[in-house]
């Protein structure tokens, strides 16, 4: 008899939880795969395609599906480390086949050489190039991700990738780069009695 009671009690509990879980599954349904969003969050959004996928989001999808995490040269070691932490895998060195980690650059069009062919505009993944057919084009500098994709299509080779110049407000306190006779530890100066 007591066995019967226990079975009924458990059965009722199972039913109640089943209903709750079923309800939750419908009500709190997650539309997209959250892991893809998390990976996409880590990727540098250069949209350069050096990983072999057409943009960062597709690569995020590929990583979620089991692709290697070391195919992103703009992100470099830091990104690989973060991805390794997220995916619970071992961090590996950057895959050379996809390029090398480089300093941040920005595309600059030599404007008097531009013929206005719009090929770079079509290549730019973030719409950072302004211009129209037979009109001079120019790069919106702060929107450019430095992905390199506009350089190759240009028929007159008038696009340069230029290193981003350091400004006082973005300077990283690398005192060694200022002048050799200023020691890194000379700030602050020490008063002695």
């Amino acid at each position: 008899m007591s066995l019967f009671g226990a079975v009924i009690a458990l059965g009722v509990l199972a039913l109640i939880f089943g209903v709750i879980l079923g309800f939750a599954a419908v009500k709190f349904r997650v539309e997209s795969d959250p892991i893809v969003d998390q990976i996409d969050e880590i990727l540098p959004q250069t949209q350069c395609g050096q990983c072999g996928y057409p943009g960062c989001r597709p690569y995020a999808q590929a990583i979620a599906d089991g692709d290697d995490i070391n195919k992103c040269p703009p992100g470099g070691e830091a990104t690989i480390k973060q991805l390794a932490d997220l995916m619970g895998v071992e961090a590996k060195p950057l895959d050379d086949a996809h390029g090398e980690e480089d300093v941040k650059k920005v595309a600059v069009i030599r404007e008097d050489e531009c013929i206005g062919c719009t090929k770079c505009i079509q290549a730019c993944p973030v719409d950072a190039i302004l211009g129209a057919a037979k009109q001079m084009h120019t790069v919106i500098e702060h929107e450019c991700t430095g992905c390199d994709l506009c350089v190759e299509p240009c028929p007159v080779d008038c696009i340069d990738m230029v290193k981003i110049k350091a400004k006082p407000e973005t300077w990283q306190w690398d005192l060694d780069t200022v002048k050799e006779n200023i020691k890194a530890n000379s700030i602050p100066v020490k008063v002695v009695e």
Binding site: Q47, W171, V178, I187, P188, V189, K190, V191
Partner: protein
């Protein structure tokens, strides 16, 4: 004397709270604090970086070769945080070029170079001796147009700080000047106490605050006397003499000292009903409103044992540091260091060609004996001395470990951004670890990461917007093709229907359609056959045969 009575009364009641930590480095304010402020000869050229405060730079209004009057505006403040810049003396614009700026990095920034003509000829001045019937918003505009930034060090636009409309408990005027060597505010208070109090009253009028606390450290008896006399028996301005301890002049530290209240982490003094301005700023506000003179010069302490004439000078903005040194009997030693700011918070200048800017309060040329270069950094022995002296009650040694490990999340959890970079921890460190340097680096890195992240987010949005646009365009194209195809079909059908309709009236649609199709096929075949017959008469037979 009523002045000294006021002073004595306030000395007793001055300090309500106290702030934790702090150090007592040798003061060395002599001889700068006891010598009058000197006027200097005009330098060969004035170099005015376009951006001298926190916030974006303005638009340059002058061209090379243009003649400018003293006080003429050189740049126009564009956005909210912008401040205009004025010609400190009359002369000719010699260049507008990149020039190393007064920053530890020594990186070049856009600057306007003026060649003084020696006439020191003023342009238009709009003096406003009685401001009491002028609207507050107009006064704020005037302060903004005068290009006044906080002269205490941070360089935040003063008008913007004043414009925050919240009821104030106290307006605090900071004359503490706690850093060793620096005596610029001290001398200004001794010589221009009346002007400072007049400026304080303007600030008081703008903020509609009926309680002003004017704080001075007790190592400046002359300044205290002068200010007490200038205040007279004004019941709303209270002189507060605070004990000498570094860094009691820090904004948050002084607030804790005077009111006993702590400014919460990540909040502004404004959020607890307080506003702080430097005495130099009060002086500049008075000059701007009452005399109509924009901010053109400031007091700079020029000191250090490599100089014969140590003291304070009125330096025009843009004066090259080398000129200040030359005018003070500079005899450089081997590997001479030039420091901008004090010995605790200052930085070594990469070149003596950088100019004085709005926030420059001190230039030091110390001898190696006076201020020895720090020795090599040794390992942290976890003595905890730094934690004892930290005025922000942080854990400097822990922050140092985290900064070295580049653990930025953990650094933020340990409130790295509450660090005021006062240098007290580095001052007491027995291992000579340049702690503040690590914090500055870590802060720059954290800000950089945030900036990169914002940029990545922007790039992602643009990429997705573009993908969406391409997809939409593709759909539109397909739609267009589909419509065009339909249109063609319809036209054909209509053509086919017309002759059919005469013979087969009343037929239902499918039949009509199939008939039309049959007719069309027949027509096409006939056409083809005719074409074939025309092209090759030999194949005529076979073609005909096929058709039959």
């Amino acid at each position: 004397m009523s002045g000294s009575q006021t002073m004595n009364r306030d000395v007793n009641t001055a300090v309500i709270g106290h702030f934790p930590g702090g150090v007592h480095p040798p003061e060395r304010k002599q001889p700068a604090s006891s010598k009058p402020i000197r006027k200097l000869a005009l330098p060969q050229e004035l170099i005015l970086p376009v951006r001298q405060h926190i916030g974006p730079s303005g638009k340059v209004l002058v061209a090379i070769g243009e003649r400018v009057d003293k006080g003429q505006r050189l740049t126009e403040a564009g956005l909210s945080q912008g401040l205009p810049l004025h010609a400190p003396t009359s002369g000719i614009i010699a260049a507008i070029e990149e020039h190393p700026t007064a920053h530890a990095s020594g990186l070049p920034e856009q600057a306007i170079v003026i060649q003084p003509d020696g006439e020191d000829r003023w342009g238009n001045k709009h003096a406003l001796p009685d401001y009491h019937d002028v609207e507050i918003s107009r006064l704020l505009e005037l302060i903004q147009e005068a290009g006044i930034a906080g002269l205490g060090g941070a360089g935040f636009p003063t008008a913007q700080k004043l414009a925050q409309q919240k009821p104030l408990k106290h307006l605090i005027i900071n004359g503490v000047e706690c850093e060793p060597y620096i005596a610029a505010d001290d001398r200004l208070m001794q010589e221009h106490a009346d002007d400072i109090i007049a400026g304080t009253r303007i600030l008081q009028y703008i903020t509609r605050c009926d309680s002003v606390l004017l704080a001075i450290e007790d190592n400046k008896p002359e300044a205290i006397k002068a200010i007490a006399e200038a205040i007279g028996d004004d019941p709303q301005i209270h002189l507060k003499v605070v004990p000498t301890k570094y860094p009691s002049g820090g904004e948050k530290q002084l607030i804790e000292l005077l009111t006993g209240d702590q400014v919460p982490s990540g909040k502004l003094p404004m959020d607890i009903g307080l506003l702080m301005q430097n005495v130099g700023t009060a002086y500049a506000v008075k000059r701007a409103i009452i005399h109509g003179e924009p901010l053109l010069e400031r007091v700079v302490t020029v000191t250090g044992e490599s100089l014969k004439q140590r003291g304070n000078v009125w330096a025009l903005l843009g004066t090259p540091i080398q000129h200040l040194l030359d005018e003070s009997g500079f005899t450089p030693e081997k590997k001479q260091r030039i420091i901008m700011g004090g010995p605790m918070m200052g930085f070594t200048l990469p070149s003596s060609e950088v100019p004085v800017i709005k926030t420059t309060n001190c230039i030091m040329a110390p001898t190696e004996q006076e201020l020895p270069s720090p020795g090599p950094e040794l390992a942290c022995i976890r003595c905890g001395a730094c934690a004892d002296v930290c005025p922000a009650t942080l854990q400097p040694q822990q922050l140092q470990w985290l900064a070295k490990a580049k653990d930025y999340d953990e650094l933020e959890k340990h409130n790295l951004f509450d660090c005021i970079e006062c240098g007290a921890c580095a001052y007491v460190c027995p291992s000579e670890i340049p702690l503040v340097h690590y914090y500055r680096k870590a802060k720059a890195e954290v800000r950089n990461i945030a900036r990169e992240k914002a940029k990545a987010e922007q790039a992602r949005k643009r990429f997705e917007a573009r993908q969406e646009r391409l997809e939409r365009e593709k759909q539109e194209r397909l739609e267009r093709h589909r419509k065009a195809a339909e249109e063609r079909k319809k036209m054909q059908q209509e053509k086919a229907d017309k002759p059919e309709s005469k013979t087969k009236e009343g037929d239902d649609k499918p039949a009509g359609k199939s008939a039309a199709v049959a007719a069309a096929i027949a027509r096409a075949k006939a056409k083809k056959a005719a074409q074939a017959a025309k092209d090759s008469p030999e194949e005529d037979n076979s073609a005909k045969g096929n058709e039959s």
